[in-house]
Amino acid sequence: MTYCIIGSGNVGTALARQFARSGITVGIANTHGPDSMASLVKELGEKVIPLPLQEALAADVIILAVPFRAHTTVAAALSSWAGKVVVDAMNTYGVSPEELKGQDFTNLVAAAFPGAKLVKTLNQLPAKLLAQEPAQNGGRRVMFVSSNDEGAEASMGQLVADLGFAPILLGKVSEGGKLIDKDGALILQNIIKQG
């Protein structure tokens, strides 16, 4: 399984840091090109590989850590998304209800990536907490995961666990997943799972 993070802002950087810390190889790309990430990559070491966007999209798992409106640009960069897992790690600050056309965020994103298995996770913590060591206070920081595809949900639950978090699978996007969608009850909760 190959992974690539798209976006190198606060969230993308925090995620790259978790991959590096966990010893899991990850590509990282943004719309400015690999040179723009030189200092980040130098800091995080050899597990984090800067790539041009097009090459990055060859990964099995694409993690969207771009501003919400940029997801369509990423989607347009590949002609087929069939067989890929797309992780929606985008948050939703400042996006108006009109832009959503009455849909759940994640379903809207899914429509932009036809054929991909969409999983929502890594979206629910402020970047500062996301970047922290997930082992805390005798437990692990909780990371909720939701998808309409059970297999993709389980495999991303495993990835999240490999990154050091305690995954909790919430089920379908329009059911349990609503709690980690915009204004959901499980957004921005700093929860540690013990025992």
Binding site: N137, V142, I168, E175, K178, A185, N190, I192
Partner: protein, 196 residues
């Protein structure tokens, strides 16, 4: 606001202990009568009052800590439930909801308590964790709350916080509340909430 716990098994006893430790008065009752509870009450001090079932059900907030099948007996012990909040701390311990007509168990329970606002909480932790709201490091244990009436959810979340837990309100029973179903994703998770 007056509170009553119905049921004095592991769950009811753990809740009564939490009320006592938090300095909140509560009445406890069961179907066997006050004599069966005297020892527990003595152990918990003056904030825990023993009553017969009928009197206990006068409380503003009635907490059901009985086996699931017993909720009907409790419901029938009173003519009307208007204006009362009923907390469903029970679990329907079967995977299939077919015996409940496909309803989530708290929505099924609500049918027996017409007029009451039913809120689901306290159902999701083993009694030992329920008895200690604070984790070892002083952080508050998470307690999820779900119900179909926003006001009752808020009121119960406030009780949950007064008992030392960190409440998280999940919304309606058939929506966010689904996650609190038997073997649901948010059941039996030992979670503590840290400041952000």
């Amino acid at each position: 606001m007056t509170y009553a716990i119905i049921g004095t098994g592991n769950l009811g006893a753990a809740l009564a202990r939490r009320f006592a430790r938090s300095g909140i008065a509560v009445t406890v009752a069961n179907t066997r009568g006050p004599d069966s509870i005297l020892e527990l009450a003595k152990d918990l001090g003056s904030l825990v009052t023993v009553a017969n079932l009928q009197d206990a059900l006068d409380a503003d907030v009635v907490i059901l800590a009985v086996p699931f099948a017993a909720h009907r007996t409790i419901a029938q012990a009173r003519n009307h439930w208007e204006g009362q909040t009923v907390i469903d701390a029970m679990n329907f311990r079967e995977e299939s909801l077919a015996p409940l007509g496909g309803l989530q168990s708290s929505d099924f329970v609500a049918r027996s308590f017409p007029g009451a606002k039913v809120v689901k909480t306290f159902n999701q932790l083993p009694a030992a964790l329920l008895a200690s709201a604070l984790a070892g490091d002083g952080s508050h244990r998470v307690m999820f709350v779900a119900g179909n009436h926003d006001e009752a959810n808020t009121e119960v979340a406030s009780l949950v916080a007064s008992l030392g837990f960190a409440p998280i309100v999940l919304g309606k029973i058939a929506e966010g509340g689904r996650l609190l179903r038997y073997r649901g994703p948010l059941v039996l998770q030992n979670l503590v909430k840290l400041g952000s």
